[in-house]
Amino acid sequence: MKENRWRLPLRFGVLGYLALLVVLPVGTVFYRAFQHGLGAAWHAFTAPDALHALWLTLLVAAIAVPLNTVFGVGVSIILARHRFPGAWLLDAFVDIPLALSPVVIGLALILVYGHTGWLGNWLAARGITVIFSVPGIVMASAAVSLPYVVREVLPVLQEIGTEQEQAARTLGARPFTVFRRITLPNIRRGLAYGVTLTTARVLGEFGAVAIVSGAIAGKTQTLTLFISNSIDNLDPQSAYVGAVALCLSALIVLLFLTMTDRNREAWHGKAAA
């Protein structure tokens, strides 16, 4: 396109919009976290409630992400390799969490697992508490991040087809060997992408977790809840430090996704050639 007089104003208009909406706010959080010095930030970060929130967040991710990974790969294989009536229904149901507000997902979980919920009596009789407790947080986190692995892995499985797997079968490989030696290497980039998205979502989930957890400091408070509670308790220093921790994890996720995406495009380019 020819050089025109709108190019520069448009460029700077766009950069200005992004600066006001994204860069400056995120920068301000970093500034606020450290404005009273590194010592104050460290003090807030190592407070028992903050450390517990960090630990709980990592624990929830350590449970929910592997569960969703296994589920995601399993469902992708079922949908891509098996033909059965109702397959499209399973496919559609996996996407439900994407269409629901996180608050609604949390509410729906309470209606099943809360003390007045469908399974409330059954769980109470067995001494299991789900809502206002760690299992509820894990379930809420797993529910909101459910679709990501399937949505990344399923297209890859459909794309690569079954020739290699069938060849391996014919040569006498057992099903698990086929999966480990053929399927897994083929889907690994899509899988890495999906797992990263899942992790990002689990680490940062707020709405669904807020509603099921009760946000009891030092007990059922994840990092995101810790941030919101610190604001409510007029302790912005703690909130900003927690936010910086999550910002850093988001930047790592972003970096990883950008890298994976580049690799994946190169890989797809090769596959298409």
């Binding site: 025109n4 709108w6 448009l10 950069l15 919009y17 992004l18 909406l21 994204v22 400056l24 706010p25 995120v26 301000t28 959080v29 399993g74 469902v75 079922i78 891509a80 390799r81 098996h82 059965f84 499209w88 496919d91 149901f93 439900i96 969490p97 994407l98 629901l100 507000s101 608050v103 609604v104 509410l107 729906a108 309470i110 209606l111 099943v112 797993a142 529910a143 949505r151 399923l154 297209p155 794309e159 079954t162 797997e165 079968r169 099903p175 698990f176 990002a200 707020f206 995101t224 941030i227 936010a243 999550l246 988001a250 930047l251 972003l254 950008t258 995406d261 495009e265 797809h268 298409a272």
Partner: protein
């Protein structure tokens, strides 16, 4: 994180048209090939990784049921547990109406603003060239990666009570708008960008060499080609904004009848154990986003908009 767009965009596509982002799969690897690949797999299927035929599917369906299907069924049942009248009363209660109205209007305005901004940003990313463009491009995805509560806090830090700009948006509807603009930005950029990139600049050059003014080129050539993609992005942004909670809750202050959005209202209802009312408002919210997402899916098929890459 461009593929998240595809993920979300998939929502709108009904199951029969499930289409794993054709643009991403590269040219010439379209539908026919994929379906032909699925067909001969049944032999393998029965000896798949789940050694026993039904164990895998049964486990998957159980997991899905426990986390999603059962809760959604409970939500619907609960909303109508007091009959249609109770449902209607919960939905038409003044505070609920105010919250739903605010949510829908805010989502609509935000979708419109970010569609225009998203088009401009996509245009600059595709057509312009400058130092640090790749950083700007990565920046677009930051709102995706950033936890919503952190997004809310960042905006509160800059536009809240101690704003360095002396611009206190805390507890105002403008604050809600800012939060929604932040979280919906990636949808609006990423759905337009690939379409714009595919567009041949030569057609525009041809038009201008035939004497078209810039305005005519814009109106006759550029806008018609990107309009479906812009609308799809707007729809995704709208659906996201309607259910948004984390980023809004800090800056809005949840003042009833003023800055209380629907998800906040559902939250406070559930905190006060008014579960059927919370479920009823949830149902309305879900129906609205479903309608929009189905609309996008229909429009995508109708106008053959490529899935975002």
């Amino acid at each position: 994180m461009t593929n998240l767009d595809a993920t979300v965009a998939d929502l709108g596509l009904g199951p029969p048209s499930r289409d794993p982002a054709p643009a991403e799969r590269g040219p010439g690897r379209g539908r026919s090939r994929r379906y032909s690949l699925v067909a001969p797999s049944s032999a393998l299927a029965h000896a798949g990784v789940f050694g026993k035929k039904a164990a895998g599917p049964a486990l998957a369906v159980t997991y899905l049921s426990l986390l999603v299907l059962l809760p959604v069924a409970a939500l619907i049942t609960n909303a109508f547990s007091g009959g249609w009248h109770t449902f209607w009363a919960a939905v038409t209660q003044p505070e609920a109406v105010a919250a739903l109205e605010l949510t829908l209007i805010a989502a609509l305005i935000v979708a419109i603003i970010n569609s225009i901004a998203g088009l401009a940003i996509a245009f600059v990313l595709v057509r312009d060239d400058f130092k640090g463009k790749s950083v700007v491009s990565a920046l677009i995805d930051l709102p995706f990666a950033l936890p919503t509560i952190v997004a809310g806090l960042t905006l509160l830090a800059l536009y809240g009570a101690n704003s360095p700009f002396h611009l206190d948006l805390a507890g105002t509807r403008l604050g809600i708008g800012a939060a929604l603009l932040f979280v919906t930005l990636p949808f609006c950029v990423r759905s337009v960008q690939p379409v714009l990139a595919e567009l041949d600049a030569e057609i525009e050059d041809a038009a201008s060499s035939l004497g078209a003014t810039r305005r005519q080129v814009l109106r006759r050539i550029l806008l018609p080609s990107v309009l479906p993609a812009v609308l799809a992005g707007a729809g995704l942004a709208f659906a996201r904004a309607v259910g948004e909670f984390g980023s809004v809750v800090l800056i809005s202050g949840n003042i009833p009848f003023k800055t209380e959005v629907a998800s906040s209202w559902i939250f406070s209802l559930s905190q006060s154990d008014a579960l059927p009312a919370a479920s009823a408002v949830s149902i309305v919210l879900v129906l609205i986003s479903l309608l929009v997402l189905l609309g996008i899916g229909w429009a995508r098929r109708r106008f053959d908009v490529p899935d975002t890459v």
